[in-house]
Symmetry: C2
Subunit: 406 residues, 2 copies
Amino acid sequence: MKIGIMGFGVVGGGVGELVATNAESIKRRCGEEIEIARILDLRDFPDSPYKCFTKDFNDILNDPEIGVVAEVMGGTKPAYEFTKKLLLAGKSVVTSNKELVAKHGTELLKVAKENGVSYLFEASVGGGIPIIRPLYTSLSANELTDIYGILNGTTNYILTQMIKEGATFEDALKGAQEKGYAEKDPTADIEGHDTCRKIAILASLAFGTYVDSEEIPCEGITKITLEDVKYAAKFGSVVKLLGITSRAEGGVYAMVCPAILPLGHPLASIDDVFNGIMVRGDGLGDVMFYGRGAGALPTASAVLSDIVDAVKHKNSRVNLGWEQGRDGYLLDAKNLTARFYLRLTGGKAEDFSGKGYEVYTLGEGYEDEFAVVTPEVSENGLEKMLEDENGLGAYNVLSRIRLVAE
Amino acid sequence: MKIGIMGFGVVGGGVGELVATNAESIKRRCGEEIEIARILDLRDFPDSPYKCFTKDFNDILNDPEIGVVAEVMGGTKPAYEFTKKLLLAGKSVVTSNKELVAKHGTELLKVAKENGVSYLFEASVGGGIPIIRPLYTSLSANELTDIYGILNGTTNYILTQMIKEGATFEDALKGAQEKGYAEKDPTADIEGHDTCRKIAILASLAFGTYVDSEEIPCEGITKITLEDVKYAAKFGSVVKLLGITSRAEGGVYAMVCPAILPLGHPLASIDDVFNGIMVRGDGLGDVMFYGRGAGALPTASAVLSDIVDAVKHKNSRVNLGWEQGRDGYLLDAKNLTARFYLRLTGGKAEDFSGKGYEVYTLGEGYEDEFAVVTPEVSENGLEKMLEDENGLGAYNVLSRIRLVAE
């Protein structure tokens, strides 16, 4: 089977490397050899062992022998147009492009189905961690209820540095950039957008109806301070950036936000650049997937697993997809109840005694402030309480972070 | 699609329950409805909502409309004979029966292939945790190198009670029996046989050639004492029962043994009845799967995922399998090097200073004994050292446990 690769950056290069080094086991799994017949990239790679580079997309589109194409270009332009044309031409496409899947997945999956080919995206979430395929195969017999994920290695590295090394957010970010874990412009990671696209894909797949990542409330980690991390430690907890989605009557909840997890929570010990995804199902209980969520070879290995799957199904197709989204399906996350951590100034810790709050102080040097953990309340309810000038509204709120129970 | 169930115990009953409660999502995944047409069990179930019980295997074998059968009887007799007949008759079989897969998997997979049907066993390892399918799909593009697994919930519960509650082995076992986590005759769990069958299945599948569980060196947890747990804690480690398999030149290593893991190891925090399986691959790095390794509904959900897969592939088959075993393929685990913990009496801790050993003592009440951690050595090498009367042979060895590095 001949395949094409679009984009020869780190992931595309990794796919090339894995195909070359694992040729024999790939043949055993596929039942046939895989040959990289065309690589589309605008750059030149004179030192590459591959000699099949092209700058013209039509060389892949019009080659009748190419049955599967790996789209590892990233972005939506021209990836969307290219992918659609390939699917319409009866070629399967596999991708690591979370942005494209989150934005145009519904349409591309439909086009794939209508043309009897596969559109696969294991590499779009969790790097080398198998999560997409388990969701539509192994876990498919379960009514899934919740997914909690640490889905972004960059932010998890930064938070781990803050928790374990006492680094400030700024220093931890700088360190991440020096190590190559964070981009020069880290916005998509630290503001939660990357996590948001991933949780949107997981929610769409797990619950069967499209969720638009742009409609999901999304908060990053830029406001998290060392003090927040210290208060959380006081009650045996850590701060993590989570993507969360839950099924409910009439729709689903989804959100991206920093969350405080007790140390006993399976996700609390996922540190550094690792990702962890916890899936809860009715019969199943909790299942967790853990591994390196990024990096050339882990991501490439996920792309390659999709290539193998597409080749194995060349006479049929891999059936996965979700229904079109609908108004009101994404429920208002502010109605979800939780306990909240609040870091406060402008009053005394004693004010909260005997009122159902837990109260924490940091001791010397922090006499002006304290933190409370509220009773369970919806975010809407909390906001009302924060407006009440005879209640929480009397205080200055420095931080507000949702707690996730064990 | 009509299906049969053989064995209506906890797992079979769970399959019945999940099929009934998740009918709609199953239909969405399969593309058609699943109907339980026949349930084989020698017992009567007058109160069951199902009215299709039979005591005669031929009612399933000879029903041309039954395309998939779930074998959840356990044991090899008559499960082996029944499974083979069903595969020969062109029916797919899915099973939770690790004993049967570990013993006769090679032949049954071959018969399935020859007859164009599937033989699937996701539920045989890790209960509801998807591990078998990821091994032959998502991770198939990787050259896998190692698998480390906490594969038995009963022993992990017992060890957790010893580590966290200071319970003795005997008390922890009794507690496990009272909670229904351990059988009246707990031999298969505590002696490691259950773990051994599971690691044999994982090794066969991951590395492509059959490994006979009966040839794998297997040690359980019956000799683990509270003192061992305390010494391990002294160097920031915990004792876990592991199934281990590694690829090497010319074959594979496999073993089942108690092992001492540093707290930073991903498997170290898998507690109570949970299972965890760590898979290492060349491009992939480490991936871990975590969840409830037993229980009616988790196991049933794994069985059901195989049923769905078999139904989806009714016109083709799910292609998985391994080659027949060969002499010398299973390498002698005593050649593998590791550091070892030794609990010693009959000498002084000071004897070991400056010799490359780490030395630990427990303090008051334990003046007669101490523990050392050896430098890296093969088990063969260690045994020679233990025979040397001028060396370790001068001491009385109370315990010997392998260390696993982070």
